[in-house]
Symmetry: C2
Subunit: 547 residues, 2 copies
């Protein structure tokens, strides 16, 4: 028997309709790429987004076509999102931080029909325009007065593109499973893969992401999404802002400490979100200028694990609550948030800090489990670690145009309806999840798993050590055993004996590395993480003394 | 083109699964009908609810069958909810406040197969059991030790009913539009009508109801739903509690001031919700005993309009935030909540109080508009009032076994996909809605509408007036004109001239009643509201002096 409730498809246009009805005059403030601060409102954005829809239709964009953006966070960027999604086109955020060739490859794979770009990216796009096989039109997110000389074919200023079109055009009216957004993710191997969000997945994800222990925005909050729209949809904040009817502050192209600080203070920001590197810049600016944060209450940090120094600085020096978050593009992106509950509130400060370094708890709509290599579920005891698998309405089941069976790094995408994250983690009885390793980096010794990251985190503290890496090396009896690789600090010359002695008692006996190797420089990847693929190549023929 | 996200039906079993994974040891505390305070946890409730599922299947209950409850808020009642809904049966809450004949009529109409009842209601059900044509089994929500002598056929104690069944039974796995709950609503005319909720509607409703400006629960909150599960699903709190992973306190049968106060203080409650009469009892108990509320932060008040005295007492005397809420059984029930935004925060205290008497703003997933009799949308100017119509995923589109075209009071159910609430309201530019009248009570004078309630609210303040009512009386030129009906205060004898003089300047000239009639006693309905149906009968042949 079916219920008898209204059929109200969960489509994204309804979010902006809601903001227009309930908070039409609430501001969306943008530091424009042209320079000045621009003030808009949900009411104005709603009207202009509808003009975008009309202009897109006139430009030949149809239901399901891909509309690409290469742009910073701004009210104009939001207008393009809702304008494209409201008519059932697919908003595709290109990431300007990729190599130009990758951007071209992705735009061609996505078959983007039209590209909206900020002034910043005109030179970049001019270089690759010749390779963009499907883009018919370039819309530069500015007005006629700021329009540059450009070789881009069929280029037009955004304000001219939307000018004259009526805001009286219908949105929605299609199935909630209609594709709404496309975002590519790149693994260490293979081509980038497109995650194709639906209206339903984005709406449910935004509702879940705005519950109390997640973002928890109220209409009196002011939110500054420093995390870009091209980075996993700015963690849903451009949907949550209008859903909550709260003021938004869009930072444009300037994400340095001084610029972010100025917006935080001048606009009265209460919640902000970004990756750790942004906060390093802000904190160093605050220290150098002896400044305080007078309105900020909560900062969401994700993208990579929160360094303890950043956590302590915000909480201890500036009185701002840090919420450590974890997710993936394939999860829309939210997977977990480390908000404390009543039991944790009662802990001593140092225990709270330790707990906040965990990735946290899944909000409702995210299911998590850890499994062994055979797919058997492992206990939630806070000690056992296994492959982290997730399930939910905002989790990917296949990639755009892909076979659907492989993750970006080549691993199996799903088992039992669960998506394999490629991470190894523990889950504790209170639900807190902690990432302990990447699945491909975990060391399998005699059927048991050893976390490379845990040993590394301790080993970097040993005397004379600048950086430390641990990889698994083939062993005739145990399959694999850990090899500790050390980059010595300037002028220091740590030896094997004293380094291993430092680890004694800090890790389990059977985790002790079988050997220590010293290198000039530990190779790092583009994002500053240790390049283990390279290390494994370097030590491919390494023979352990225990072998 | 469709998105490529996982198919994860929004079914209610997932809410309790979530609580079990993320807050297994969080308490659900019940003041049991037997007397003592009982402490349970989400983990235990999850296991026992699964036992309910197994026991229901064994008792012959199948997918889609109706499982009825006649019970107070308790952890056992929650177990029955999730146990029935988890297997795809329909949980039907019977309202013990109705007349026994109505309860019997409703149970027969619903074709309830099994009835779970509290000890309190055994005598009541014994009286009507002979009329209950479809109920095969009576489960009394107690254990063997407290089992009463009863004439109920096939009666069993709840603890015996679930004992021995394994908690290892699957939940969910069906379409999210599957019926999940049934709740009857009664209009002033005709038979009660059943609202048939779906899993999807209840899940989306609970997520929307728990956003920041609505309930906004975090895991560190403690929630006391005084509003019963049989009153429009306790306003979704039994879903929101486990969704947020927060502690719950269930008041059982005792809703008097002393009992509610004791739970608020002893369990550290931070948020509670109920109708105004409950708060009158609590506030009078607090005053008589000179008590303070030390942990409570927010009280949600709905069911009928919040009286100003209650609002002021909570906010001014006890420092507790009042959120005025409005809804209907047909809306699952949440329609609007009066949380203030940043502009309103800046208002003087008296203006805030005035604003908080409005019914508030719709959360995302509720669409509202006001229309005239022809269905034309009216302006959102805070002055124009029209029929309030709503739309959303948790709004009824038809009644159980009904033709779907009529509301409980006989009016048209839908127009343009919008549900007609039967209320007349204003909407202001900031989104605040205020109910000004019931549609059937509004006076239509020359095509313009006059609010009977607004005139009544002013007229009760006139000298010598105990109560005042306004109804429309036929008029040859204007169709209808207002007649003011006065019940004089003890020993007073107000006259027409001075009563009308009191209204002058307080209402628009054309709203001035054409006449004043004096009655011994203004007839009231069962809930204490003015019985306008009766008044209209009494004055059916009344001839206005202006006619």
């Amino acid at each position: 028997m079916q219920g008898l409730m209204q059929d109200w498809p969960l489509t994204l246009d309804k979010i902006l309709d809601h903001a227009k009805a309930m908070a039409p005059n609430r501001e969306v403030v943008t530091r424009s790429v042209e320079g000045p601060i621009i003030r808009s409102t949900y009411g104005e954005i709603h009207g202009r987004a509808k003009q975008v829809t009309a202009a897109l239709k006139n430009a030949g964009v149809r239901f399901g076509d891909r509309v690409a953006t290469l742009a910073w966070n701004s009210s104009r960027h939001m207008e393009v999102w809702f304008g494209a999604q409201g008519m059932g086109a697919v908003l595709h955020t290109l990431n300007p931080r990729l190599f130009p060739e990758q951007i071209a490859w992705i735009a061609n794979h996505a078959e983007d029909k039209i590209l909206f770009l900020d002034l910043t990216f005109v030179p970049l796009v001019e270089k690759i325009a010749g390779q963009l096989a499907t883009v018919e039109r370039y819309v530069i997110l500015t007005d006629a007065a700021h329009m540059p000389q450009t070789s881009l074919p069929n280029a037009v200023a955004y304000e001219d593109f939307i000018a004259g079109w009526s805001a009286d055009i219908a949105w929605g009216g299609f199935d909630e499973n209609t594709a709404a957004g496309l975002c590519y993710t790149s693994g260490t191997t293979g081509n980038p893969k497109g995650v194709l969000y639906s209206h339903r997945s984005n709406v449910i994800h935004a509702m879940a992401a705005n519950t109390g222990d997640a973002f928890g925005l109220r209409s009196r909050d002011v939110v500054l999404p420093v995390v870009p729209l091209f980075h996993a949809n700015a963690w849903a904040l451009t949907f949550i802002g209008p859903m909550a009817g709260c003021k938004m502050v869009m930072p444009g192209a300037r994400l340095d400490g001084a610029s972010v600080y100025e917006l935080l203070e001048s606009e009265g920001v209460t919640l902000t979100a970004a990756v750790p590197t942004v906060w390093l810049m802000l904190l160093s600016y605050l220290r150098e200028n002896q400044l305080k944060l007078t309105t900020l209450k909560k900062v969401i940090i994700g993208g990579s694990a929160v360094p303890e120094a950043i956590l302590r600085a915000f909480e201890e020096d500036y009185g701002v609550e840090v919420v450590h978050a974890w997710g993936m593009t394939e999860m829309s992106p939210m997977g977990s948030l480390c908000a404390l509950g009543p039991e944790e509130d009662a802990l001593p400060h140092e225990d709270k800090i330790k707990l906040k370094l965990k990735q946290g708890r899944a909000p409702f709509t995210v299911e998590m489990k850890i499994v062994d290599d055979a797919g058997k579920e492992l206990p939630r005891d806070g000690k056992t670690f296994g492959r982290l698998q997730v399930r939910g309405p905002a989790v990917t089941r296949a990639y755009f145009k892909g076979d659907g069976a492989r993750r970006a790094d080549g691993a199996a995408l799903e088992a039992d309806g669960f998506f394999d994250t490629g991470d190894v983690a523990t889950l504790d009885p209170a639900g807190f999840m902690q990432i302990t390793d990447r699945a491909k980096d975990v060391i399998k010794s005699g059927g048991e798993w050893i976390s490379s990251i845990e040993i590394e985190n301790i080993a970097v503290g040993a005397p004379g050590v600048a950086n430390a890496a641990v990889i698994g090396v083939a062993h005739p009896k145990w399959d694999e055993r850990p090899l500790l690789i050390i980059e010595a600090a300037q002028g220091a010359a740590p030896d094997k004996g004293e380094t291993l002695a430092y680890l004694e008692g800090k890790i389990a006996k059977w985790w002790m590395p079988d050997d220590v190797a010293f290198v000039e420089k530990i190779p790092l990847g583009a994002t500053g993480k240790i390049n283990k693929l390279e290390l494994r190549k370097m030590f491919a023929d390494y023979r352990l003394p225990t072998a």
